[in-house]
Amino acid sequence: MIVVIDYNVGNVKSVCNAFRHIGCDVELSCAPEAVENATGIVLPGVAAFGYAVSALGALAEQIKEVALRGKPLLGICVGYQMLFDTSSEYGQHNGLGLIEGSVVPIPAGRVIPHMGWNLVKLPEDMELLAGIGSEKHFYFAHSFYAETSDRHAKVAYTDYGFNMPASVQKMNIYGTQFHPEKSGEAGLKILQNFYDICKREALTC
């Protein structure tokens, strides 16, 4: 069972709908037992960073703890941004600190938010992005992006006048700045990949 964290922000339902569409058992929950027993955790997010972090509250520590123990974790959009150390959206906020880096504004001089379908180069060694080809369009909607300095993280980039991280992977921790649940067939394939990773990990644990 994959658990999508329900923490009173938008878009949680879309993530569940997309997992159900690919035939994955998914539960929307904020219960500590559900997080503990899940084969994988999805941290979705349509919200401002500060609001999302405070809405997550005490669950943050638990999510961090199970992720460090090896449970697959997928962060999406603001949920992805929360994997990093800090963000400067509407004030300074701390994230989960699972991946070294900070969430900063997209540099001026272009249309912001970065909204729409942009081409992501898909590195061969990123399991989450496997089976889709070498590049594909995904749907983005954000004004901040994560700059990572983590040398243990693999990064896929998109071009928005500069090389902008679009997806990261560090061991069992995965994240996408774009919305796989809103990116048509290619997005559903990413969720399928995460589902497959969770099934595999559940067998080996």
């Binding site: 878009n11 339902k13 879309s14 569409h21 001026a108 909204m115 729409g116 909607a141």
Partner: protein, 254 residues
């Protein structure tokens, strides 16, 4: 490179998609969920659902519609029409909408934009503006509210800039003069607004041919183009549109 978005708009009345000419003379175009799913399969980048009745009774219907669309459509969609409070926005986002557009309520209460942006992030907040060419002030447009029925003294370009400052993440700009005419977008309007703001602008109203879409992007500076009649009634497919634009060197998701 970020692609230009092709966005079919579904005006919904009593759970049916309708499309009027100059906001009047409604004509039936089908079931909203079915039509939305069909557009998604055809390669639309995004969808907009506008509840054009926007009564208390229709509000419940639109939440149910959003839920059904979200179960069947895996591309982003915006919902709008009669939305007045942060709580209503929250309900629609939680039901599966990616973005919510506000129009009349934002004019009456501009804090709606800032409060929503701080809570949900500005990428969820679409400021819809119905613009009409001013008879008194040539080269200016006035903001109209209440589904276009009530003109105000507010200047469209100033309101767009103010909306951005307050926290709108996108502007859905409809030319009431061009809407439903199929005679082309009002690209003077589009250009005036895209020059004044830094957030994406969706051009709406007047699409009749493929050239019109190209012109809205190149002359109007639009980040996305909205259309209804030309795709609802089968004149063009989404693929036709994207192939045409790609041939003319516009980046599209195809």
């Amino acid at each position: 490179m970020l692609t230009r978005r092709i966005i079919p708009c579904l005006d919904v009345k009593d759970n049916r998609v309708v499309k009027g000419i100059n906001f009047l003379n409604l004509r039936d175009a089908g079931d909203p969920v079915e039509l939305g799913a069909r557009y998604s399969d055809m390669g639309a980048d995004e969808l907009v659902f506008l509840d054009i009745t926007a009564t208390i009774r229709s509000r419940k219907t639109i939440v149910e519609l959003v839920e059904k669309v979200a179960e069947n459509v895996f591309i982003p969609f915006t919902v709008g029409g009669g939305i007045q409070t942060v709580e209503q926005i929250d309900e629609l986002l939680r039901s599966g909408a990616e973005k919510v557009s506000v129009n009349t309520a934002a004019v009456a209460n501009p804090e709606l934009l800032s409060e929503s942006a701080q809570r949900f992030g500005n990428q969820c907040v679409v400021l819809a503006i119905d613009a009409r060419r001013s008879k008194e002030k040539p080269g200016k447009w006035q903001v109209c509210i209440k589904a276009g029925s009530e003109p105000t003294d507010i200047d469209v370009v100033e309101w767009a800039a103010k909306g951005e400052e307050l926290g709108a993440g996108e502007i859905l700009l409809t030319s009431m003069d061009a809407d439903g005419t199929k005679a082309g977008y009002d690209n003077e309007l589009n250009k005036a607004v895209t020059d004044a703001v830094n957030i994406p602008v969706i051009a709406s109203g007047g699409a009749g041919t493929l050239e019109h879409l190209y012109d809205a992007i190149v002359d109007g500076g639009a980040d996305a183009v909205l259309m209804a009649s030309i795709t609802h009634f089968g004149n063009y497919t989404i693929r036709n549109i994207k192939e045409y634009l790609r041939e003319k060197d516009i980046a599209v998701n195809l």
